[in-house]
């Protein structure tokens, strides 16, 4: 469906993408995860055909979109990171406008608009101006506008950033529905928990794909033994462990500490290290790594 080889994009002297390879199958959700400035938006924009890469190949549905950026546009729906609809047009007018630009015939446009509004629950706000919608509703409207031409591929750039938790859940429900209809979805997000919902995940860091695969594959690639500790003096404990093992091996996760150990037997050493300093350990358990632990493992070398 989407095939990217050695994609390079420079902005002046800064390399935004340093040779990305990507293979996305039809009918899956593919998540791009990374910090701000990692290159997620640049990658999505090159896939959407609105940014020309400096090097590499992109093939979408078997078409070379670098040679002809127009050829795949009618099969792609793209949702940019910023809200980018016409604020003075109403919900229905916005959808109709994009439908017309994609040359969806009039009758078909009516039908699809109706369906999209049901599907996104925007029906009651049909005649409200887009600028007066809440953040979550704006995103849903933007999604409707990106779907009016029934694209095969949907590119979403941080669709849930700045959206309340309820709208976020609704948005994901919509994405699963679309997945059920066979739409291939590429979504970027800075949130690890969100990325874990995707069929495949790619971690991007400084313009490079550090790792990619299904969540299970990523977990299998985790080199350490991960322990979760709860102590009475967490802050103190963090400093001690970090001095002992290294900065990137221990981290706060809410009121817990995640400690990455080379070996299960090392846990005894940590235990005595903490207890000798008068810190009481309330629990110390081996756990499965989450995406964030994997991300830290993969990116710690660079820092």
């Amino acid at each position: 469906m989407i095939e990217v080889r050695n994609l390079v994009k420079r902005f002046g002297s800064r390399d935004a993408l340093k040779g990305i390879n990507l293979h996305i199958e039809k009918g899956m959700i593919f998540a791009l995860v990374g910090a701000d400035g990692a290159g997620k938006t640049t990658l999505l924009r090159t896939l959407a055909g609105i940014l020309t890469p400096d090097d590499g190949e992109i093939s979408i549905l078997g078409r070379d979109i670098i040679k002809d950026p127009e050829c795949a546009k009618e099969h792609i729906g793209y949702l940019s990171q910023r809200f980018s609809l016409n604020p003075s047009l109403t919900v229905a007018e916005n959808i109709d406008f994009f439908g017309a630009l994609f040359q969806v015939p009039y009758g078909e446009r009516e039908k699809r608009t109706k369906r999209l509004m049901e599907f996104s629950r925007l029906g009651p706000f049909r005649d409200r101006q887009a600028g007066k919608l809440s953040g979550g509703m704006k995103q849903k409207l933007a999604l409707c506008c990106a779907l009016i031409h029934t694209p095969d591929i949907l590119l979403l750039d941080e669709p849930t950033t700045g959206v309340d938790p309820i709208s976020r859940r609704e948005l994901w429900e919509i994405l699963y529905d679309l997945l059920g209809e066979g739409v291939t979805i590429v979504v970027s997000t800075p949130y690890m928990d969100e990325a874990e919902r995707a069929g495949e995940i790619m971690l991007i860091h400084n313009g490079r794909a550090v790792i990619s695969g299904t969540l299970d594959q990523l977990k299998a690639s985790y080199r350490y033994f991960l322990f979760e500790a709860v102590c009475d003096q967490n802050r103190q404990a963090l400093r001690l462990v970090s001095d002992h093992l290294g900065k990137n091996r221990v981290m706060f996760f809410g009121d817990r500490l995640h400690i990455a150990l080379n070996d299960g037997s090392e846990s005894a050493g940590i235990k005595s290290l903490l207890e000798n300093s008068g810190i009481q350990i309330l629990s110390l358990l081996k756990i499965d790594p989450g995406l964030e632990d994997i991300f830290i493992q993969e990116t710690s070398g660079d820092n």
Binding site: I50, L85, F98, A100
Partner: protein, 374 residues
């Protein structure tokens, strides 16, 4: 292609109409400007204050003074006794001109000698002084010419064919400046409003971020340019109509030509304005930049187009610059239509220049836009 253009135009129109305040300003601006230019920006000088010192006090001297006051151009506001009294009168602005008629005025005229009348003009406002001094020369000239003809008549001499330049103003016989100003205001308002509308058209999309969403649609840069041009074009015609109606109904200006021709030839100027605005919009990164760029384009068009200062009085290099300004051609066209009743035959060449100007600039704008869209 037509659906897309139609939908872009429709969207623009909706945006324009929903923004009530902007739309209101669009309609109020012409009215205010027209009233200002119609009433205030006049080059006629009437009822200038005249300080009179008539040392002659004869029928001849009174007749001479009457020439000045009869036309309504001068008004005797003060009587003085001699040269020494003039300064305070001019200083206190009671009069802008002082006139001293010598004691022997009538006798010198009777003898056929030169009768020198002293004229003192307040030169503080040089524009005013120039106009007033021209009036005085003209009135005095007419007076002495009549004396000469009278003299010949009385002596039974048939007047030989002497060369005289008798200017007869044809197309604006009363030299009413409002007749001259209204077409100018029409051109200026069209330029101003169209440029402001179009210069923001694309840069605003960029600022709001909508341009990115447009870029992923299969829309062509040309569709966008045409679609964005149609609503301002409609506004342009609305302004022209408004100024025309106000000018005719309120200021009773003379309109000699054909309305149809006015609308037809205005198309080419509107095209040029749109092209300039869109180019600015395509080149600007922010709305602020676009607004300033507008000023850079607008001011020379107003000052150098002949709207206020005649082009023939400008230094040669500046005259060359004026050939680049669309306003110059349009002013020629509409003044021709309004005042001379000119037809297509007189103005097709200016329309052609505007068309070429518009198309060239529009192409550059489209190309720039194409690069920015993709």
């Amino acid at each position: 292609m037509f659906t897309r253009i139609y939908f872009i135009a429709k969207k623009e129109m909706i945006q324009l109409l929903r923004d009530r305040r902007t739309f209101g300003m669009l309609l109020i601006a012409p009215v205010i400007q027209l009233i200002i230019f119609g009433y205030v920006a006049t080059t006629e000088v009437k009822q200038s204050g005249l300080a009179l010192c008539d040392l002659n006090r004869t029928a001849e001297s009174r007749g001479f003074v009457e020439r000045f006051t009869a036309g309504g151009y001068f008004n005797v506001t003060a009587y003085v006794d001699g040269v020494d009294d003039i300064n305070p009168i001019l200083d206190s602005r009671q009069a802008v001109v002082a006139m001293i008629i010598p004691r022997d005025f009538d006798r010198k005229l009777a003898r056929g000698d030169t009768a020198a009348v002293g004229i003192y003009i307040d030169g503080t406002n040089s524009n005013l002084a120039t106009i007033v001094s021209a009036y005085i020369k003209q009135i005095a000239g007419e007076y002495s010419k009549e004396l000469v003809f009278d003299y010949f008549d009385r002596n039974g001499i048939t007047i030989p064919e002497i060369m005289t330049a008798r200017p007869r103003v044809w197309f604006n016989p009363e030299l009413k400046s409002v007749n001259f100003m209204v077409p100018g205001v029409m051109a200026i308002l069209t330029l101003l409003l169209l440029m402001n509308l179009t210069a923001l058209a694309i840069v605003r999309e960029r600022e709001v971020g909508t341009v990115e969403q447009l870029a992923v649609t299969p829309i062509k840069a040309l569709d966008l340019v045409i679609g964005k041009s149609l609503p301002p074009m409609f506004i342009g015609y609305l302004i022209i109509t408004l100024v025309l109606v106000l000018g005719l109904a309120w200021f009773k200006i003379s309109f000699e030509g054909s309305v149809l021709l006015l609308y037809f030839l205005s198309f080419f100027f509107i095209l040029a304005c749109l092209a300039a605005g869109l180019l600015i919009s395509a080149l600007s990164q922010t709305a602020d930049q676009a607004m300033w760029a507008n000023q850079v384009f607008f001011i020379p068009n107003v000052l150098l187009s002949g709207f206020i200062f005649p082009i023939s009085n400008m230094p040669k290099p500046i005259q060359l610059i004026t050939y680049l300004l669309p306003m110059r051609y349009y002013l020629d066209i509409i003044r021709g239509i309004f005042l001379r009743g000119a037809g297509l035959r007189q103005h097709w060449n200016e329309a052609l220049i505007l068309l070429i100007w518009g198309l060239v600039v529009l192409s550059i704008a489209s190309l720039k836009l194409k690069k920015k869209l993709v």
